[in-house]
């Protein structure tokens, strides 16, 4: 596989240089851009596998740019922002960004996020998947872009990153048994942030958080093989 092509849109010159260098050292081909017009020019120069986009650009805001980009292209986008609040993160993800990276970031975190997004993009079948942003089962609602779980009564239920990824993996394979090893792998491809907790611990936590009114969570253990979400999942 050839080196992935990344377009980096960042208005701060030193940071642009530093980020470019860090990415090149990790085997990526980088086309840096300082403004929106430069970004469109970078797109004309060849294929683009991923866009790293600073939200606060002079002239056009990164949010507008992202919206424009999404209209024509399905390229993975990672937002970079100095804001880093939960609201900004949600806005970015709802606009169709694939991930959100808060400043300041180190090389390791940057590369891990890019890798995770690229891998996820290769696995998912296409843009249609991303648009279907909601999964639901037995009254529970999983909002994918917001990474939010709502209980049957509509209350927000907080999960750790790893737990959320595991739940999504279970939903994606609803009513099928998934091997433990496969679950570990699946949950790691969705997020760069891998947890050292074993899948069994994560499952037991999920069960507790997904129980409702004395009813156990619909996650069953298949001895010696793995786990299964034994209810139908609806996609919206």
């Amino acid at each position: 596989m050839t080196a992935p092509n990344i377009v980096l849109v960042e208005d701060d010159p030193p940071l642009r240089t530093l980020t470019t260098r860090a990415l090149q050292e990790n085997g990526y081909t980088v086309r840096p851009a300082a403004t929106a017009p430069e970004m469109w020019r970078a797109f004309e120069q060849g294929p683009v596998d991923l866009v790293l986009l600073d939200i606060m650009l002079p002239g056009t805001s990164g949010i507008d740019l992202c919206r424009e980009l999404r209209r024509t292209s399905d390229v993975p986008i990672i937002f970079i922002s100095a804001k880093g609040s939960e609201t900004d993160r949600v806005v970015g993800l709802e606009l169709g960004a694939d991930d959100y990276l808060a400043k300041p970031f180190g090389t390791r975190e940057l590369v891990a996020r890019i890798r995770a997004v690229l891998r996820r993009h290769a696995i998912e079948r296409g843009p249609a998947d991303r648009e279907k942003g909601e999964l639901s089962f037995e009254g529970w609602t999983v909002n994918l872009p917001r990474r939010e779980l709502l209980s049957p009564t509509g209350a927000a239920v907080e999960l750790t990153g790893a737990e959320f990824d595991l739940l999504v993996a279970l939903c994606d394979n609803a009513q099928r048994v998934i091997a433990r090893e496969r679950l570990i792998e699946l949950s790691r491809t969705r997020l760069g942030d891998s947890s050292d907790r074993s899948v069994d611990v994560l499952i037991s936590r999920l069960r507790r958080k997904l129980s409702s009114a004395g009813k156990p969570a619909p996650i069953i253990t298949v001895r010696g093989v793995g786990y299964m979400l034994n209810v139908a999942v609806e996609r919206r």
């Binding site: 400043k103 927000a156 129980s211």
Partner: protein, 444 residues
Amino acid sequence: MTRLPHLTLGLIGRVFAILLLAVLVEYGASTFLYERASQFSVRQDEAHRLAEHLVIASKLIEEAPIGERNAMASELTTSRYAVAWRAVLPKSPAVAPSLDKLTDQVLAWEPDLDGRDLRLSLTSPGRDGFITGAFRLDDASWVTFRTRQPVRALDMAVSRILLALTPAVALILIGGLLVRQMLRPMRDLARAADRVGHGEVEAVPERGPSEVRDVIVAFNAMQARIHKLIADRTQALAAVGHDFRTPLARLHLRADAIDEDDLRNAIQHDVVEMNQMVASLLAYLSGEDEGDAEAPAAADLAVMCATLADDAMDRGGKARYHGPDHCEVIVRRVAMKRALTNLVDNALHYGKRVDIRLDATPDRVTIAVEDNGPGIAPEDRARALEPFVRLDAARGRDTQGFGLGLTIVQRAVAAHGGEFALDAAPSGGLSARITLPRGAAIVA
């Protein structure tokens, strides 16, 4: 703004208007009282007896020579009526409502009395009421008389006292209400002044007397200026905070190129710490900024606490959640999560272990975050909640950040109408306790 000068009365104008109204009410009530007395009537036979007695008295006294008229009058005085002869009509007492209806009754029975200028009135020297009256003789002298036994004494007395009191009570009530109404804009103003600086700009409606209006206009302008000042400051600080992150990102990436591990790690640690300071500053500012216009929604606080403990464990800390599996409360989720995260981070920083306990009753939820660290001395606890205060010496360890963590917690809890308190934990460390009312209105 446009004002209608002819519609606004000054304070003095209003006081005069109230007095005028009071006088009108008094006048109206007295008129009513006298009107009622004139309708006073006695039983028919009593009226007849009185009429007959008066006719006899008129005839006998008129026939008697002037010198004997007094003696005749005292002869005519019975156990019922006292009669006297006067050359001129004595003045009637001040409060003596005339009895028009009774007069009609008497005249109807004895038309002879018509033309004698009969006047009957009700007097009440004590609590009892007596009928007194006079009529003119042909030679323009007068016969006066009064009943010697009280007429319907108690009934009339009480009802007349009540009637006399009514205007006074009405005056007090109406006057009080009007003055209260007049001063209401002042109370609104005081309440608004009390709230300046806490949350939104609340323009006080411009109403009331013109003097008060002027004060309200000036107050609203001042309030707007203060809020603009605060907003400008907040925005400037937030912008600085955001701008800090770009150089921090540069520093972080530059440090990645350092080969010497210790130095690189130390610099990166510094970057992380500086970023945490910026984050806490921004979180603190967002409390007064538009940033926290988060709408309250149902959230499962029990799961939130459990997840915070799980997260802390995943990061290598020792954290446990104790409490029910679920507890749904209407909260601002992001603000509440930030508050709880601050408490858990603090607990892990100062102690080796953190216990999160949630206790729910139908009307309140209590969340206690306990650590086994050195705790905070009782005298320092109030100070620990103030912004930019760090209790370095007291807690014996280097402190991170600006000293905003607990302030952010307190503000978030207060916005939910709850209480935040610091205490000693059973294990000796600090216990930070949040108490939230369930289903209470959340302050903007």
